[in-house]
């Protein structure tokens, strides 16, 4: 009798537990869904606010805003082409510099470095990611740019001066300086994501290649890099995303001039940097509205570049390890 009662009690308890757990699971699921949706809602809200804020400029300039090259608050004539150009070019320079550097570093860290060296080096790279951008900007302004201007750019121009991108007078604060600072900023993120991806390449892959008599270089190239190329591409896109939106460090070294010059040794400006510079004193409704539209364009450029990257990923890269981040 007593035993039966106990069993019943236990059953009831178990049932209660089960329903509690079901409730817990469901609550957990709804909670995480809500959190995930909030990101989506936030982006939509930002987009809506930017669009409503830029209504005045949209009505006034229409598509000409994207092709206009003047930014004249006095005569209220605004165009964003130099800013769009500067954003794309400075980010492209950054990618060209940062990608070989980061992937080589990641390969060294996962494939070649002696074990005792891996952890300290990784920590240093992650420390670089933690340097605030304004500090990097100050360093760029007072140390890097003067050095580049006095030593590197003259020899660059001396050797490759016949190319249009190195033509014209040398300005220390220029597109190339911005690209170099951006490269320094995105190297840590590309490196650490690439390192995780290379680490997740199965050991069997390498062993198989070694078994076929491949050298270390061949193993890395054929078994590791080609297996991980999809993921590495993703790491580069993450870096590119950061480069497109970076503000403070760029505006301290780019020369802040809204112009389109073939030479990357000439000053330029970016969407993010130009908005940050002009917001404080922007009186006049159309002026402010045009700054909002700059933000909208930046959002658009970022979305477009990411979509293009996804498309390239689908078209060119085969199967492989995806980025974990």
């Amino acid at each position: 009798m007593q035993a039966t009662a106990t069993t019943q009690n236990m059953n009831a308890l178990a049932g209660q537990r089960l329903s509690q757990r079901k409730f817990g699971d469901r609550a957990f699921r709804w909670f995480t869904l809500l959190m995930a949706l909030s990101v989506f809602v936030l982006i939509v809200l930002i987009g809506v606010k930017l669009a409503s804020g830029s209504q005045l400029a949209l009505n006034k300039f229409g598509w000409h805003f994207l092709t206009g090259t003047k930014w004249d608050p006095v005569h209220e004539n605004f165009g964003a082409l130099p800013q769009i150009y500067g954003t794309l070019v400075s980010s492209l320079i950054a990618i060209v510099i940062a990608v070989p550097l980061s992937i080589a570093t990641a390969v060294f860290l996962t494939e070649l470095a002696p074990l005792w060296m891996r952890q300290p080096l990784t920590i240093f790279i992650e420390l670089l990611a933690a340097v605030p951008s304004v500090i990097l900007g100050l360093w760029g302004m007072y140390v890097l740019v003067p050095w580049l201007h006095d030593h590197f750019y003259p020899s660059l121009k001396g050797t490759f001066g016949y190319l249009a991108i190195f033509s014209g007078p040398i300005s220390g604060n220029c597109m190339l300086s911005a690209g170099v600072i951006l490269a320094i900023m995105i190297v840590p993120i590309i490196t650490s994501v690439s390192r995780e991806i290379l680490r997740s390449v199965p050991g069997l892959q390498r062993e198989a290649a070694y078994a076929l008599g491949a050298t270390r270089w061949e193993v890395t190239r054929l078994a590791v890099l080609s297996y991980a190329k999809r993921g590495l591409f993703g790491a580069v896109i993450l870096g590119l995303g950061r480069a497109l939106g970076e503000t403070m460090a760029v505006l301290m070294v780019i020369g802040n001039t809204p112009q389109i010059k073939a030479s990357i040794l000439a000053p330029g400006t970016t969407l993010a940097g130009w908005s940050a510079l002009q917001f404080t004193e922007a009186d006049g409704a159309l002026y402010l509205s045009s700054l909002f539209e700059l933000g909208l364009v930046l959002l658009g450029v970022t979305v477009l570049v990411n979509a293009l990257a996804q498309l390239m990923l689908k078209t060119f890269a085969g199967p492989g390890v995806k980025p974990q981040h």
Binding site: P73, H149, G172, T280
Partner: protein, 343 residues
């Protein structure tokens, strides 16, 4: 489950404590007067703020130096008790406000022409030459138009690199206001504003950005506030004024410019190129913006008390911070205007 509720309870208690300890509690005992705007007079407004808290401990003045554009917008929207700006408000902006806004000039400052040349020679220069340098028409330091004004100075055959502000600024307003007053071409093509479309050169952020770029670039030329140039020991030129004299910028020559300026009844005036002997030509004043009719009688009275104090006792603190105080005649006119504020 109980644990969860416990946690929520603890959080709620913590939140209550945090709110209770916040600045709100302090504010409820004091009357808070909020202002926002220009960055150029920020040092002296902060000084006034802290000194005034000793004069009237019942009032706490907050000043947020977000820039003149923000100051104008916030006073129009009525989100602050007073605004501040380095450029006067346009008629269009004044019409947007819900009431009449008064311009209260407080102190004046000057822009200097600073440069980076080997040996730091002392230069003399006139307005039209500066306009042509900033247009990009004069590109070499040994150009006859510069050399002609500086006999005895060995000017190098060096490219001029123009550096200007890339962010909007009251400093820029004074600079282009001066260039517009000496060059018809500048007035037509570039014009006046806190940010303009520059025909030449490259941009930097803030006085410190311009200074940094000028210091690092041999042959560079730029403009910064007098206070900033003095604190950082930058070389600067004597500028030819409307009376034909080359004048060095200092508090005395800026006050002379203020005294010589024609000042209309609404105090929206420009003092660049003022016609007076000894007046430095690239100078400007900065304004507080207040509504003539105050909505809150208690706050209105306290604000007027503060303005009266600032325009009398406060003016005495100006020169120690390298601002030029208002000359007596103008000070009296401004004090009369403050009397018209209704609350």
């Amino acid at each position: 489950m109980n644990k969860l509720f416990n946690k929520i309870g603890t959080l709620a208690v913590l939140a209550t404590v945090a709110v209770g300890c916040g600045p709100q509690e302090k504010a409820s005992a004091q009357l808070l007067i909020n202002g926002a705007g220009a960055t150029f007079p920020n040092p002296i407004y902060q000084k006034w703020r802290s000194e005034y808290s000793k004069v009237d401990p019942g009032v706490q003045i907050n000043y947020n130096s977000i820039g003149s554009g923000g100051g104008k917008q916030q006073i129009i929207a009525g989100t602050v008790d007073f605004g501040a700006s380095d450029g006067p408000m346009s008629d269009e902006d004044l019409a947007k406000a819900h009431g009449k806004i008064l311009h209260i000039p407080t102190v004046a400052g000057a822009d200097v022409f600073t440069y980076n040349l080997p040996g730091d020679p002392k230069l003399k220069i006139d307005g039209p030459t500066i306009a042509d340098i900033f247009f990009g028409n004069i590109t070499k330091w040994n150009d006859p138009r510069i050399a002609g004004q500086n006999p005895g100075v060995n000017l190098p055959d060096m490219d001029i690199v123009v550096v200007h502000r890339a962010d909007g600024s009251g400093t820029t307003y004074i600079w282009v206001d001066f260039l517009s007053s000496v060059s018809k071409d500048w007035e037509a093509k570039v014009g006046r504003g806190t940010a303009v479309s520059w025909p030449a050169g490259q941009g930097a952020k803030g006085n410190e950005g311009v200074t940094g770029m000028v210091k690092q670039t041999p042959g560079a030329v730029g403009y910064v506030e007098l206070i900033y140039a003095k604190q950082n020991k930058l070389p600067f030129a004597d500028i030819k004024n409307a009376a034909g004299e080359y004048i060095a910028p200092d508090i005395d020559s800026v006050t002379k410019a203020l005294a010589a300026a024609k000042i209309p009844d609404d105090f929206r005036f420009s003092m660049v190129n003022a016609a007076g002997s000894g007046a430095y030509p690239i100078a400007g004043t900065t304004w507080l913006l207040v509504y003539e009719t105050q909505k809150d009688p208690v706050k209105g009275r306290k604000l007027v008390e503060f303005l009266n104090w600032a325009l009398t006792k406060g003016e005495g603190m100006a020169s120690a911070l390298d601002y030029a105080p208002l000359p007596d005649s103008l000070q009296q006119r401004v004090l009369e205007r403050i009397k018209t504020i209704k609350y």
